[in-house]
Subunit: 378 residues, 2 copies
């Protein structure tokens, strides 16, 4: 199934008229439909005074030519109604009258073989550009491990955590998607041209802003909601106190999807944002991919059992032997009668238990008596 060509043309035109998430255009599309709104504007009519602001851009608008150019560059424009439309993003559905950067994108420009409707099982991995090697390692490892289970990793294309996330997913031959704040025909940062080209060949590069548009701060903010909207959940790794990753985190919370954060040293500034999210109760602390999968995979599919420390021989002792073990001192050895008295068991039983515990390597005997082995102490 595919949306009509008329609809695609109208949305191509409209998305060139306004900044991403612009509330008036968004609400008018919801009210009138993209085709009608576009026609009204072309007829020089001015619903809600929107025309004055978009008139300049409307003048050199040629959606048919734009779509042709995209096709030549291997870029497609996906809109609601297309088979490839990623239905999970409908969670961004506009809240009427709220003047934020929210709401559904008019469409998504996509470059790459990965089809967006195949991202139902997906995880956003986001964090700071100025991160540490610790953050890079953890982001890379979590991304690799979730990608191995078929989960698609979604991130920006920035230095630092974004890059580590894509690399981790690629290292596991997994799916990965970069969502940009500029046109998908552009490379920002330029140093990531290779990464972006690779993603465009093996995964997907996505943006809601038209080809040729530059990255701008407001577009990054709008882009962050798309990352949250495309993913089933979000993991924050190393986000400093005002990192853009926190805006993705907020969108995830607003979407009522699992928000997770990886802690780090409290002495590390890049971990501050993650710690705040956990402290506020917004994010669940996660330490490994298993804990992430438990939250984002369908219920019960990836239940994670809490590590309870290595199983100890102590846990397998009979209750009598355990009782005697409890009475053996940590430091200075004592005689059997003292142990028997402390444990409240007979002298013979105490002696027998000590032999058994000794064979297990839990107690040791010297000429002064018995005490715990080094191993049993810890």
């Amino acid at each position: 199934m595919s949306a009509t060509h008329e609809e695609r043309l109208a949305r191509t035109a409209l998305c060139q008229l306004a900044e991403p998430g612009e509330a008036r255009i968004r609400d008018l599309v919801a009210d009138l439909g993209a085709v009608t709104l576009h026609e009204l504007l072309l007829q020089d009519r001015d619903p809600h005074g929107v025309l004055t602001d978009v008139a300049l851009r409307l003048a050199d608008n040629d959606p048919e030519r734009e779509l042709d150019r995209a096709a030549r560059l291997g870029i497609r424009f996906i809109i609601p109604g297309d088979d490839e439309w990623p239905s999970q993003i409908d969670g961004l559905e506009p809240v009427r009258g709220v003047r934020d950067r929210g709401g559904l994108p008019l469409g998504l420009w996509v470059k790459g073989p990965l089809r967006l409707n195949e991202l139902q099982d997906s995880l956003a991995v986001v964090g700071s550009r100025s991160c540490t090697t610790y953050g890079i390692d953890v982001a890379g490892q979590i991304s690799a491990e979730v990608a191995k289970t078929g989960t698609c990793v979604i991130s920006g294309a920035a230095f630092g955590i974004d890059q580590a996330a894509h690399r981790g997913a690629l290292s596991a031959s997994g799916k990965t998607v970069a969502v940009l704040a500029c046109g998908v025909d552009r490379c920002y940062p330029e140093a990531h041209a290779n990464l972006l080209n690779y993603l465009a060949e093996h995964g997907a590069v996505v943006s809601e802003v038209p080809m040729g548009w530059s990255p701008m701060r407001s577009r990054f903010l709008a882009r962050n909601r798309l990352i949250a909207g495309l993913a089933r959940g979000t993991v924050v790794v190393e986000a400093a106190a005002r990192s853009g990753a926190l805006s993705t985190a907020n969108w995830t919370t607003q979407l009522n999807r699992p928000l997770m954060a990886v802690p780090g040293p409290v002495t590390s500034e890049p971990s501050e944002g993650a710690h705040q999210l956990i402290r506020n109760g917004e994010a669940t602390l996660v330490t490994r991919s298993a804990e992430v999968l438990e939250l984002i995979k369908p219920s019960g599919e990836y239940l994670f059992e809490m590590p309870r420390g290595r199983e100890r021989r102590r846990d397998r002792l009979s209750s009598r032997d355990a009782q005697v073990l409890e009475a053996v001192p940590v430091a200075n050895p004592v005689a059997v009668d003292s142990i028997s008295r402390t444990a409240g068991v007979g002298l013979v039983e105490a002696g027998r238990a000590l032999q058994k515990l000794s064979a297990e390597g839990l107690v040791e005997q010297s000429k002064h008596g018995w005490r715990l082995t080094r191993e049993a102490r810890t």
Copy 2:
């Protein structure tokens, strides 16, 4: 005010008959009183079959001599009813019939000038012996900073986090108390003899087990409840998955007092226990002493404001200037007319705003137009 000598003698005797927290003795003291129970036992009567188990120990029991010996060693035995009795420990009040290591201690053996009734404002800082330098640094710093506000630091006397906590408090000339699993006349670990002697001269060393008794595993577990019971709250720094620090944490939760945990790298085993406590919702994640003080000091005394990143010049801009700033690209410079169009403000206003933003160091001009400065980008 002081408890009667008779009561002190009875409790001195009783605490030599049973392991700390032993439920039957504890419950009988609650029912009959220490003096009556002691008399019954001396008269060879056997309430609840307890005598058979304690007969051996009762034989060489001479509480008067024991208290004399303590006095000569500079050790005092504090019991309920004494002015010095730390009332916050009454939170450990026995739960009838529960056979755990819980309940009030029969008394506390104390060595050192610090009076236990002056520990109302106190914090337990606990963690693993096998910790990292990160844990030592954080435990030391938090302890120093809370000690500086008059809060007494309470811990064990083990290597690692315990030691770091005491050292931190001492470095700030603050109060600190070590709670032992052996008699306060003993030094365990022996390598901490100097530390313990110093604490006995400047702070306090406390135990519920009589002088001369050895450290044993069960006594450590019982000791952990005293640490939790003496403190207004507990901070866990680096506790591995089965660390004894987690038992102090559990007691803190049972006492309904603030439990806090310091996160660390997820790659660090000693942080696993702390992370689990936070994940389970048992502990609040804390990253600095201010967050600790907020939870343990009387309400409102130490309100901590969340760090919101350094204040940015961006935050002080007029809304018009901010609007223009939003329209300035991050990477490739663009001309004023493009910025004016994107921002939706007139050409003249845009130019004026750009000059102002340039003076603030937020945008820069080249022959190709305007873009954000490196500083404004981050």
